[in-house]
Subunit: 200 residues, 2 copies
DNA sequence: AGATAGTTATGACAATTGTCATCTGCATAA
DNA sequence: TTATGCAGATGACAATTGTCATAACTATCT
């Protein structure tokens, strides 16, 4: 019997997947979580064989959870299940050594089979992701990401400077540099592009 | 036997819901669509009793489909099933006289029951939506929406002016007016707020 | 005809943004 | 020790953005 845990904030999908997987003879859903924090604590207490993690969840993302599972030496295998084929997400997941990265756009029917294959030691990656997407890595460094994120919340250069204790000019330099790297002609375009690639 | 059609672009959820509903004795999933266009044509040919429509789908949104169903005098009952509790969406759905507006954050278990209740003539609205959200109507007029949308794509005031054949100053007046109505302190904040409310 | 409202335009102003060259410390590698 | 590179900072400039007062031109209603 394969014991699995599902972490997904959208209740309808979580419930449907749990029901669907429980119909399989060899799979048992032992727990459900609606945010990353809950997922982490349930995984450590329940020690399921496999966990299905959404990425964009409240409190902690699925990627955060994955990285922390490694730190504490958990043996639970991780399958990321997300809407987003964003290069940044995929890259981070692969670096965290997940056993699977599936898209919510993929077929329902193969989910159970993917779980079984992961249990046998295979890596399950949605075919859309195997080619192309990986080589596009995030050109922004930590500061640029940080500053662009704040800008994306509508903060002005001045506000950002006082939040981060940097000078006004420095903030603008970082934004300018980020826009240059992204080949965007203004903040708004830059934010759109970075968000769309998962570079935040 | 209640004949239903599911229109939802996320394949995993669509498949899971179909499977789940097919398990009910009195419900039969007669069709599935992955975009609004397909939904519309399947509904007209299959004439299901109820259709479950996602809002944000390719080609046509679920709201577009609903409005067109009214125009052609379809008797299929509509249940909107969406992630978004955005006032703008909800308002438009109610005006189009949908029989149900459920959130994907709601419980899986009650979906089948909601469908049965809709068949009996009830209106099914997610409880989160009943209070508060309705009175917040879109303060932006058509021009303001149009211009803010273009701005959201990263266009400058100058570009927008030549796209819409308006003067540079006029475009900036509209943006200024929109930001004022939204109580936002710059474009980026205004865009975020408007998008979040479904006012686009 | 006069009042009213909606759409578009203009000009002026200040604030913010985007760009660039240059400069300072500081750490670290050769 | 010198060199190199990085994180920040500064100043200057032009372009863009946000705000406001005002006006012209419709169309509509009374």
């Amino acid at each position: 019997m394969i014991r699995i845990l599902i972490a997904e904030d959208q209740r309808m999908l979580r419930g449907a997947l749990a029901l669907l997987l429980d119909l399989e003879d060899d799979i048992e859903v032992v727990g459900q979580a609606c945010d990353g924090q809950e997922a982490l604590s349930l995984i450590t207490t329940l020690q399921p064989d496999v966990c299905l993690l959404d990425i964009e969840m409240p409190v902690k993302t699925g990627l955060d959870v994955t990285e922390q599972l490694i730190e504490i030496g958990s043996i639970t295998r991780v399958i990321i299940l997300t809407t987003f084929a964003r290069p940044g997400y995929f890259e981070r997941a692969i670096k965290a050594n997940v056993q699977g990265y599936l898209l919510k756009d993929g077929p329902t029917e193969q989910l159970a089979e993917s779980i079984r294959r992961v249990m046998k030691g295979h890596r399950e990656i949605s075919p859309e992701l195997i080619f192309g997407t990986f080589k596009e890595e995030n050109p922004l460094n930590a500061r640029e990401r940080e500053i662009l994120s704040l800008s994306a919340q509508g903060k002005s250069a001045n506000e950002i400077s006082s939040i981060l204790h940097l000078s006004y000019g420095t903030v603008r330099n970082y934004i300018s540099e980020a826009l240059n790297k992204l080949d965007a002609k203004n903040r708004i375009e830059g934010i759109r592009m970075a968000e769309q690639k998962g570079w935040l």
